[in-house]
Amino acid sequence: MAESAIPIVEIKSVSKIFQLQDQKIHALSDANLSIHKGEFICLIGASGCGKSTLLRIIAGFEQPSAGEALMWGRPIVGPDPTRGMVFQDYALFPWLNVRANIGFGPAARGLGGAEVRDIVDKFIELVGLGKFANAYPHQLSGGMKQRVAIARVLANDAELVLMDEPFGALDAMTRERLQDELLEIWQRTKLTVVFVTHSVEEAIFLANRVVVMTPGPGRIESDNALDLPRPRDVASPEFNAIRRVLAAKLHSHHAKKAA
């Protein structure tokens, strides 16, 4: 249990300023966040409040302008297979079929052909794409593409899975199904997930911690632990009570601005 005391990822007073022509954009200001092993954290907030920026700093795609981003206590200096990213627009390699997309990471790590094959088989099975193993990305539906993207980071032994509105482009039914599947994978594999979403409902359905962010400049407004039992019922009074509280926090900055 000592392990869970040290956070996987620690964000310490992180600010991020983008230079856009002659403008300075404060995408993040003084963000603090600790992510512990096994957590499912959802980041919600209005558009432009820095959710993607925070996620990309954790992934190592961006460096903080001030403050520190640490993984297991060491500074995050660049992207790494231990932190897998699932992009909203999939970012699959269009020239590789489903098998090869999932096998990309293991092959890049230098594993042998047979080993890669075994890993790929396992994860194709896990996301239920056996029939489409040899299909190319353009032949798949959005939901299937996102399954491949998830399998791709899991196949690479990612400890931490970062998801930036992964189901944003999907229809409601596919979205619900993928949410269920993701939760099942998370419970089974003891992953740690950081999940960005616009939807309060999605956040409450998935997370055991909901981090609310507000824009102008991007700040972490509140950090809410959820202990609703799973599977969660979106129609239950408890669920709706939390939804009201979070929605109020989400819109609190409007009230402040008006005042």
Partner: protein, 285 residues
């Protein structure tokens, strides 16, 4: 857990199968029939125009057909051109493919460098952009001075003609790689130079392929100019000779052979491309 999605493809296939018996012959023949309409109309017009003597300068289709048979297998006129089609065609093909291969050998690596290395772009791009608008015909005199009258000059001009489309499309393909794919590769553990082979090259293949196809097309396009430099063999030489000898039917035969050879060569390239680029949704020529 293993939920299987059914895409729209099976449904579409079923529908097509249901319609098949009534439509199949027509659907199969339709492209060929449509493709032949314009050439046949042109042929008919040509026939009428020459038999009605609207012009006396153009030979009749029959005269051209006769010349073509003689050019191909001989036995009709028994002159210097009888039965020589194959040797001229081979001479031209060797220059077209040779020049094309040489162009590709230079254009591909230079294109990859310009696309990936900022210093290479700054070094070479302005120069190449100035050279590019100069048409191959304008190079003719200089090429004759540099390479003399003959095959080398033809080779050089074909090479020059094929160079730019290959170069420009390679540069474009390499530069147009979706930046997300680099991030995806990096977070999967593929960094640095490995990204060049695993991301840049495969992502650029469709564009490079388009460049090669255009380049080969241009090589056929330029061959007549290339063979105007006084080579004895080649379809361009035949056309130039036909002009000096006022044998217009020979000129037309040469044109037809170039057109067909270029077309067949392009079909082969396209078929190869379709096999190689099965993954690409917008690459079916």
């Amino acid at each position: 857990m293993a939920i299987v999605e059914t895409g729209p493809m099976p449904a579409a296939a079923e529908e097509a199968a249901a319609r098949k018996p009534a439509r199949s012959t027509w659907t199969r023949l339709k492209p060929t029939v449509l493709a032949l309409i314009v050439p046949l109309l042109l042929l008919a017009f040509w026939q009428v125009a020459t038999t009605q003597q609207w012009t006396r300068l153009i030979p009749t289709p029959y005269a051209v057909a006769e010349c073509m048979v003689d050019f191909a297998v001989g036995g009709i006129f028994d002159d210097a051109y009888s039965g020589t089609l194959l040797s001229h065609l081979l001479a031209s093909m060797s220059r077209v493919y040779g020049g094309f291969a040489l162009a590709a050998m230079f254009a591909l690596p230079i294109g990859l460098m310009i696309g990936r290395m900022p210093w290479a772009r700054m070094l070479l791009d302005p120069f190449l952009q100035v050279m590019r608008p100069i048409p191959v015909t304008a190079w003719l005199p200089l090429s004759m001075i540099l390479f003399g009258l003959g095959a080398k000059s033809a080779f050089a001009l074909v090479c020059l003609g094929a160079f730019y489309p290959i170069l420009l499309n390679t540069v474009f393909g390499v530069r147009a790689v979706d930046p997300k794919l680099f991030e995806a590769a990096a977070m999967l553990g593929c960094r640095g130079n490995a990204q060049f082979y695993k991301v840049v090259l495969p992502a650029a293949v469709p564009s490079i392929f388009t460049g090669l196809r255009l380049g080969l097309g241009l090589a056929w396009f330029v061959i007549v100019v290339g063979e105007m430099t006084g080579v004895p063999q080649g379809l361009g030489a035949v056309i130039m000779d036909g002009r000096t000898l006022s044998r217009t039917e020979l000129v037309i035969c040469g044109m037809i052979v170039i057109g067909l050879a270029g077309y067949l060569s392009d079909r082969v390239v396209v078929a190869t491309g379709n096999r190689l680029l099965r993954w690409s949704p917008n690459h079916h020529g």
